[in-house]
Structures are given as C-alpha cells and as structure tokens.
C-alpha cells in the first residue's frame, strides 16, 4: 500500500527528487524554501542513492553547478526564492541556450528588491517570459498542493529530459511552507553511467569512441547563432503543441471564469464555492503549465462565458496572457494582493461582483 505522509511542500520536493533518481542538488539558503536543502542534508541521499547534495557559495555558483552537472547528462536541480532566482538568471539563459535538461525551483516571496519572505506570485513574468537575456523559454509548472510539489518535481525532470531544456517549478511561500498529505513517488534508481551516455549522447562523459562533446552557448557568427535561435523556437513550438496542462473546476456551465494558479487556485476554489452559494455560475481555470500557457482552452471558454477574472499574488501579470488569449472577446478583469499579502476568498468574490458580474 502507498504510504501517506504529512510534510511541507518544500520537504516533498526533496523527497521526490531523491526518489526519482536525481543525481545532484546545488543550492543556497533563502527563506521560504530552505527546507529543500535542509531535508536533503538530513536524508543523506549520498549514502543511499549516491545523490550529491552541495551548499554552494551563492545562487550564481549553484546555478552554474547545475549547468556543469546537466552538461554531464546528470539529473540535477537547484531551488531558491525570488531574489535568489534573479541571481540565477544568467545561468538559466546559458542552460537554455546550451539545451541542458535540469530543474529550477522558485518558491516565490514578495518583491521587488529584498522584499518580504511572505508568499507572492510576482515572478510570473520572469519565469514565463524568460528572465535572463535572449529568446528562450522555460517549461514552467505551477503546483497548488503539497502532493503536486512532489508529483511535479518528477514531471519537471521528465519534461526537461524529453526536450533537453530547463524546467521550472514555480511555487510560492504558501505551497512551500504548508503541510499536507502526500503520497511520494516510487523509488527509481539513478541511471547508470551507461544509461546516462545512451540517454544523453551529447554529454561530457569523457571522449570514448566518439568525437569530443562540447557544451556551449557561444556562436560568434550571427548566422550560426540565428540557427541556434530557430532550433530553439522549433523545440518550443513542439512543447506548446504537446505539453499544455490545466485543471478546470465547474467550468462546464460557467458564466464567469476565475483564472488562478498555485496557491491562488486554492483560494479560487473557495471563491467558486462561495459564488455558487450566491447563485453566480463561476468556474475556475487553473493553468498547471504557465508556459506553455493554456491559450487554446481560454479561447474556447471565451466563446461561451461572459467574462474572466485573473486572481494573482501580484499587481497583475498572468492577466496579460489571459487577455492575449481572450483577445477582446469578453472582459478580462484582475484582482490580486501584493508584496506578501494574500487575498481572501470573500474579498475576491466582492471584487468579482464589482468588476464583472453586472
């Protein structure tokens, strides 16, 4: 029988990583996600699975360790929170261009600047539009429960290796810090050296019976760099085609749709409940992949509802993507709280009625 455990979202990430055959973790402490590394250190996976866990001297070093490990075809990840993820952006851009599979976890807190340690979703743009330099994308998954922190850790690695591209788990302080029931993924052994070489023939595993492998993001000739860009875009088109994920709650008969991800989607479920109690036919669309965004589904819903409202822990970022998808067909409103303040379901319903339900 599956064992049900009670743990924090941050802890679930660590346990899931060990269980899915992760080879290495490199991180730097920052609230509210330090439990990821603390749990790994406590579990000592180097004694069981052989996984490497290292506290780096900075987020810069950590993301570059991830680059180095991923360049060896290894299953590696790092975790941080908003200010730390800003520091990692240089490395993320390099990793995306070098087409290395890896996982970056951002347990968001309120910004800008040093900000607060309280939950936020204001790194949406940074995550889905490409926070570093150049034209690149990350596969961005938004867990909304502790169970999904575990499940999406495994999924994010799978997608990263499927497309040789970095993926990101975009959570926030609520999902990271709360404890819920979780069924951890089954144990999968780490890949053998031979399996790594077969899965990642491009990796720097030592030049044996082949030409040398070079991991790089450099191409001084503009035409070559343009081809790199076009290759990336072809890959991204495949991801958009095949990897969109979302969840709907009572959207079938809905007059209005609340769009929310992560912790806000949990609040959104309660808003739906409260609205339905008052006879307002509200549904919830929860993007699970923030990139690729469920644009087509929103376009479909736009033809049958009277309006959308985006609920976010920011001044309104995802709402822009909702508007792009709806493209003026029906009104798209926004409600949110900022800087670590979390909106309550009750106040959200009031806003919904004021802005949308006429």
């Amino acid at each position: 029988m599956e064992e049900i455990k009670l743990m924090k979202g941050n802890e679930a990430i660590a346990h899931a990583a060990i269980r899915c055959g992760c080879d290495g973790y490199f991180g730097y402490p920052i609230t509210p996600q330090s439990e990821v590394m603390e749990t790994l250190m406590k579990e000592k996976p180097w004694e069981t699975t052989g996984m490497v866990v290292l506290q780096a001297e900075s987020e810069l070093a950590a993301i570059n360790m991830v680059y180095g490990g991923a360049g060896c075809g290894k299953k590696v990840f790092t975790s941080s929170s908003s200010p730390g993820v800003s520091l990692k952006q240089e490395g993320i851009s390099y990793i995306a261009c070098a087409e290395l599979p890896c996982l970056i976890v951002n347990v968001m807190r309120g910004g800008p600047g040093l900000g607060t340690i309280q939950p936020s979703q204001a790194d949406y743009f940074q995550a889905v539009k490409g926070g570093g330099h150049g034209d690149y994308r990350l596969i961005v998954l938004a867990p909304s429960s502790v169970q999904e922190m575990a499940d999406f850790t495994v999924l994010a690695f799978d997608l990263a290796f499927k497309y040789n591209t970095p993926s990101m788990l975009l959570a926030d302080g609520i999902i990271g810090q709360m404890m819920e029931k979780v069924v951890l993924p089954p144990f999968v052994p780490r890949r053998t050296d031979e399996e790594v070489r077969n899965q990642c023939p491009w990796a720097t595993t030592g030049k044996v019976g082949r030409k040398s492998n070079v991991i790089t993001s450099l191409a001084l000739e503009a035409e070559v760099m343009q081809e790199t860009n076009l290759r990336l875009q072809r890959k991204y088109a495949q991801i958009v085609e095949h990897e969109v994920r979302f969840e709907e709650v009572q959207c079938d008969d809905a007059d209005y749709i609340l769009v929310a991800f992560g912790s806000c989607a949990r609040i959104g479920e309660k808003v739906v409940e409260l609205a339905r109690n008052e006879g307002i036919k509200l549904g919830l669309l929860r993007p699970i992949t923030l990139w690729p965004f469920p644009t087509k589904e929103i376009q479909r819903l736009a033809k049958q509802v009277k309006g959308f409202m985006s609920l976010e822990l920011s001044v309104g970022q995802m709402v822009e993507d909702v508007r792009l998808a709806v493209n003026g067909l029906v009104p798209v409103e926004f409600y949110g709280r900022q800087g670590g303040v979390v909106p309550l379901a009750e106040e959200t319903l009031v806003a919904l009625k004021q802005k949308l339900v006429k």
Binding site: A62, Y67, G69, G91, T204, G206
Partner: protein
Amino acid sequence: MTAKDIIKPENLVYTKTKIMTDTPMHYCPGCSHGVIHKLISEAIEEMGIQDKTIGVAPVGCAVFAYNYIDIDFQEAAHGRAPAIATAIKRLQPDKCVFTYQGDGDLAAIGTAETIHACNRGENIAIFFVNNAIYGMTGGQMAPTTLEGMKTATCPYGRNTDLYGFPLKISNLLAELDGTCYVTRQSVHKVANIVRAKKAIKKALQNSMDGKGTSVVEFVSTCNSGWKMSPHKANLWMEENMFAKYPLGDLKDTEKKHYEK
C-alpha cells in the same frame, strides 16, 4: 639529405600531440595560450587520460579552448568555471577535471567561485593564465594589472590609489586549506616550459587522485594588449611581472617545506 628523406617517419624528431586538433588557432602571434594548450594536450596524451578528462573553458581569449584540445569540454559563463568544474567532478568522480581561466575570469568576476572551490578542496586542476590584462575585450585593466601599467581603462597607468593593487590571487589561494598544490610558472623559455609541463601533469594527477585543488598560474605575456613585440613582451615580463609574481611553488602539501 633531400626533403623526401626528411619527411620519412624514422627521421621525424617531433610530432604534434594527437590531443591537439588541426583547427588553426585564433591567438595572436607571440601569445602564451598556444604553448599552454599544447602542454596540457601533451600531458593528457602522455598520461593516457583523453577519455577521462573534461575541461571547462572560460570567457576570455581562451573561450575557444575546446576547438583546440580534443577532449570533452564545457564552456562556462564568465568567472563560473570553478562552479561548473565542481559539479562535473562531484558527479563523475572518476574523471580528471580542469578549468582554464584568465585573470579577469578567475580573479575579478569569478573570485567567489575560485576561492570557494579551492576552499572546499574540489578535486580539480585550475590553470590560470595571468597576463595582467583583458585580452579578448581589447586590453582593459585586470585585477592583476601592475602598478603604473597602461591599459585601455587605465590609459595613464594603474593608479593604486584609485584602482587598488595588483592581486596576488595565487598567494591567497595557497593560504586555503583546500588547495594541495599552488605553483607559478611561465612558458617563455624552454626550461620554463619543461617545468610548466611537470606542474600541469602534477595538477591533473592530483585531480585524478582526489588530493584537493591544484592551481597552476602561468605568468604570461599579452604582446598585443601590452602593445609590444613578442620578444619585447617576454623581456618586459621577466623584468616587471616576475618581480610582482615570482615563479615557483607556493604550496605543495606533498612536500614538508614550501615557500610562502
């Protein structure tokens, strides 16, 4: 003896190591990088570790090191090579891992990565080419630029009151408990080249043996950046660079006594 006789295999007195590719080098005539690349390649061949060695290239003139040395390579962001090498070695402990870095890469933007990799005693070799200038970007001031030395960003000479002092980073790294071998070499004369190659081999062997971090600094010229002929640059280096960065071992934990 005719030319036909000369090129017979039995008359060959020198062949290029197979670890070096046939790609024409982009380095300026007189540059030290070519010699250092060759020494590293020869060391890899003689040690029989081409299949085990993974290099990390820097941002700087040696950014294309992977085009010349025929082993698996990773190209690092500016200054981050020691972090990348850390992960490569930790995740593949049976490999020989080295970084190849310039003075700006290692001693300015990558200071934190350098010091902490050395302090953790990562089992990697760090090859550090110190020519006291940023070569690739057109000759700007480096952390190791000598006092009074003119560069594009200190055209009237490095004023230590304004821009600080030439950084003797290898001395600093020798102080760290994680380093096992720190040495300063040059490649401007045959005798120096012989010694430099020994140092390279020792550093690579230390990586294989897991003895800690090895740092081999190559005090080098940048005749283009220094705006000198190669010969004059060598003389200038001997007179000025060696005074600030004297050659020799700074640390060797295998030997009981070493100069600090």
